[in-house]
């Protein structure tokens, strides 16, 4: 497998507070990387710099060997714990949003045959995440699990190079969370995705991931705890069944 994303000597600092220090990572195409670590260890910061929401203070990030622009783009999809879907759009329109932005730069809306084509494509994706019967609901009418399914469908429709999940199942009930794990694994295999998932749930990290990274501080100065940043202290590759038949 080839390397999709590389972080080279990445530092993230806010003022004199060091959040991440000397992070060197290579993420292979098709891998499912779970990131765990204590609160404040920079898990979300790492996700934000990969997403392009923030630029690293030092170091560089390469996607397919090219330096990453410090701005979000359609090559990296994301699902946050909350607020990932647009409350003013129905499920179908939420999912069509990505197609409409691409095909209609000025109106940001499609009409006629192109709209129908976009709707068909969106419906197909919604059926894949199990929302085929909820096309015309608004997010506020759906449960948290359904909203996260919608957020995943939105992201997958753009065929992102990397899918970033920021504690995507943190706010869900245990039963729904198990369903979402099954769905995520299924989609990861079917769409050959590369996934980076930040989570608090260690069991979830190991059961979904092909690789588990633990972020924490290697050094600790009790007089100035903010002066040392976190880095990947454990990097555990896991053996995973290659095909769904083996699981």
């Amino acid at each position: 497998m080839s390397t999709l994303l590389s972080l080279r000597d990445v530092w993230v600092e806010y003022g004199d507070k060091v959040v991440l220090e000397r992070v060197n990572l290579d993420i292979e195409e098709g891998s499912f990387v779970s990131i765990i670590g204590p609160s404040g260890a920079g898990k979300s910061s790492l996700l934000r710099i990969v997403l392009g929401q923030e630029a690293p203070t030092r170091g560089e990030i390469l996607l397919d060997g090219m330096p990453l622009r410090p701005e979000c783009g359609p090559d990296r999809g994301v699902v946050f714990q909350r607020y990932s879907v647009f409350p003013h759009l129905s499920v179908l329109r939420n999912t069509m949003f990505g197609i409409e932005c691409e095909q209609a730069p000025f109106a940001a809306r499609l009409f006629g045959a192109r709209k129908r084509a976009a709707a068909t494509e969106a419906e197909e994706m919604l059926r894949a995440v199990g929302l085929g019967d909820s096309l015309h609901l608004y997010p506020a009418q759906m449960s948290g699990g359904m909203q996260q399914r919608l957020a995943i469908a939105q992201a997958l429709l753009k065929r992102p190079r990397i899918l970033l999940l920021d504690e995507p199942f943190g706010a869900l009930d245990p039963g729904i969370r198990a369903d979402m794990h099954t769905l995520t694994t299924k989609l990861w295999r079917e769409y050959s995705l590369t996934v980076i998932m930040v989570t608090h749930d260690i069991r979830e990290a190991f059961s979904l991931g092909t690789r588990v990274l633990t972020l924490d501080k290697r050094r600790h100065d009790p007089h100035a705890p903010h002066r040392f940043g976190a880095t990947a202290v454990y990097d555990l590759p896991l053996k995973k069944p290659a095909s769904p038949a083996a699981s």
Partner: protein, 271 residues
């Protein structure tokens, strides 16, 4: 049961809401009847019959000078000014609010200016408006706009700026440009808030309208009230005030209804 937990049904809430109004009307009638028992030509607290006969002339008889039905001409003139003022304010709140809320460079550039204008008491600017625009319609509409637009702009801008950051990031990962984020994410979510801002601005808008009409006008609800004050004509002032209240309530209800109708997603899960 604690009072904070009491739920009032629809029928009961209408009944409860009517009680203070009915009591107030009864109280007025009793006091007015007492005064009229002492002095039948009392002008301060007219009886309903007195109001009806005074209003009859304004409602149904043409004015000898202008040939207009005065009450309706007043209403039309005032509503026209109010509508223009509210319309211009709403449109500018939407456009400027959207730009200020969605684009940080625009907010940094023009935010302080809008805040500065918003803190000036609009009535203090009325002389400037009269000097600049004369005593005609423009100055009155301009007073309403200056009075309410800055508040509405700031309200809409703050609402857009407070949209969850995740939504804007998500839109960008779906390929949206700044323009598309404004058009498809910020604008639709600002609309219910805009209607709310119009509702809250209705009161101040009426204040500025009546003030402008009281100071320099020859027609309008406010003008009429201040005109007949010279003759202590409470029998005209009170119905006019009640009519203004009724118009304001109708506008408020219409705005609430249209917001629920047009943006059901913004009004809770039950849509």
């Amino acid at each position: 049961m604690r009072w904070v937990n009491r739920r009032i049904g629809r029928g009961n809430s209408i009944l409860l809401g009517a009680i203070p109004i009915v009591l107030l009307v009864l109280f007025y009638l009793v006091v007015a009847a007492n005064r009229h028992a002492i002095n039948p030509s009392d002008k301060i607290l007219p009886l309903p019959s007195g109001m009806a006969s005074a209003m009859h002339g304004l409602l149904f008889e043409r004015d000898q000078l202008s040939g207009q039905l005065i009450f309706w001409a007043d209403t039309l003139a005032s509503l026209q000014r109010l509508g223009l003022g509210l319309g211009i304010s709403t449109l500018s709140a939407l456009l400027v609010g959207l730009l200020l809320g969605a684009l940080p460079p625009v907010r940094a550039t023009f935010g302080p200016l809008v805040t500065g204008i918003a803190v000036i008491p609009p009535i203090a600017l009325l002389p400037i408006l009269f000097i600049a625009f004369g005593l005609g319609e423009t100055a009155k509409v301009a007073l309403i706009v200056i009075g309410i637009a800055p508040f509405m702009i700031r309200d809409v801008a703050a609402h857009i700026a407070a949209l969850p950051r995740e939504q804007l990031i998500k839109a960008q990962t779906l390929g949206a440009s700044s323009w598309q984020v404004m058009l498809r994410v910020a604008l639709p979510q600002a609309m219910p808030r805009l209607i709310q801002a119009v509702r809250l601005s209705l009161g101040p808008a009426w204040v500025f309208l009546i003030s402008a009409e009281a100071i320099a006008s020859d027609i309008g609800l406010g003008y009429r009230i201040f005109l007949v004050r010279r003759y202590l004509s409470m029998d005209i002032i009170l119905p006019y005030v009640a009519w203004i209240a009724l118009l304001a309530i109708v506008m408020d209800v219409a705005l609430t209804w249209s917001s629920r109708r047009l943006f059901p997603w913004a009004h809770g899960a039950n849509h």
